[in-house]
Subunit: 151 residues, 3 copies
Amino acid sequence: MSDSKTTALVQAANHGVAWEKAFGYAQAIKVKDTIYVSGQLSHDSAGNLVAPADLDEAGKPQSFDNMEAQIRQTYENARILLAQFGASFDDVVEETLYVLDVDAAFSAASKVRKQVYGAEIPQLASNLIGVSRLAFPQQLVEITFRAVVDR
Amino acid sequence: MSDSKTTALVQAANHGVAWEKAFGYAQAIKVKDTIYVSGQLSHDSAGNLVAPADLDEAGKPQSFDNMEAQIRQTYENARILLAQFGASFDDVVEETLYVLDVDAAFSAASKVRKQVYGAEIPQLASNLIGVSRLAFPQQLVEITFRAVVDR
Amino acid sequence: MSDSKTTALVQAANHGVAWEKAFGYAQAIKVKDTIYVSGQLSHDSAGNLVAPADLDEAGKPQSFDNMEAQIRQTYENARILLAQFGASFDDVVEETLYVLDVDAAFSAASKVRKQVYGAEIPQLASNLIGVSRLAFPQQLVEITFRAVVDR
């Protein structure tokens, strides 16, 4: 790790949850004018999953009923990180939603996103991708963000 | 949404299709020197899917025969967006292809990409990722782009 | 391809493997202060897969036992590319690990990443996404990187 990583040009934001240390990464870093937010998920400040999906015998989610609740908490966690840099959802330029069920996510995310971005048509790039597994088996959604400040 | 989103530093490009308003996002935005293009897919200007896959009883594509046609239309839609910023494929620095079948996509995309980028070996970063579902069940491919202008 | 692609502002790095020419892309490009590294995978300098997974009759990996070995070689290949720009893992701001098995990848990547980034908690954004297929059937992991230099 070079000294440049510890200058004021780089700042890191974290939740203080166990997997930050276990995997070894920052929840978000700011380099120059850009904030890179790692994939956020639905957990509280103690690191407990919020609205985890019930799993079937194969360890797969039994339903996607908790999609909206997970999406809502996921954006809340992103908001907390952005605020640590003095930034907000107004600064987000791109997000990618990785989800276990695209149909459930489309309707839930449409609703939640218009609220958190505060606009009927939020002006950012957005991607919605159906994937097979996320970090936790009970996790239905993970969202990455890119924000640009000083503009 | 802060006022900064409406200054000349941010511009948005859209196709005018229904899901832009439904989900609430911009097909592409330009912030400073960078254009963020949301995941593009194979549709015409009226929002009808072009070369949609036939689905089986489970709602999954029966074949990947339409992969090349979908990829071609997807790049055409990206071209249309880039042009709204006065940009072109020459300005693209990175693309990510999310596909339902990697083998079908590799051969089809190799062919189409060399044509649209106008080079035997296009000089951009490229990722090819096999995923389980995209926005529409009949959709075989979605491609995101990052372009940098003023260089 | 415009002339601007061949100025000193853009540089490309490659491994010289067959699929660079077949698909048509650069393993990494540098534009202004940013290096975009295409999805790296576990291969040697001759283009042979390192620690490929054994496949079952359906062409799927029989196990994820080779995850750590593949992750290690994948980071080594990224290191080689970054070095071509005079850059290193110290310059990486974001990585995304696309993996066929999240649980196997979490433990293996935690170990390897702390070694290659040279820190107990590497200060970069990181994403871990479970996907259904990567470029080669025997491939268990692919990792993209974004690095920012001159800071």
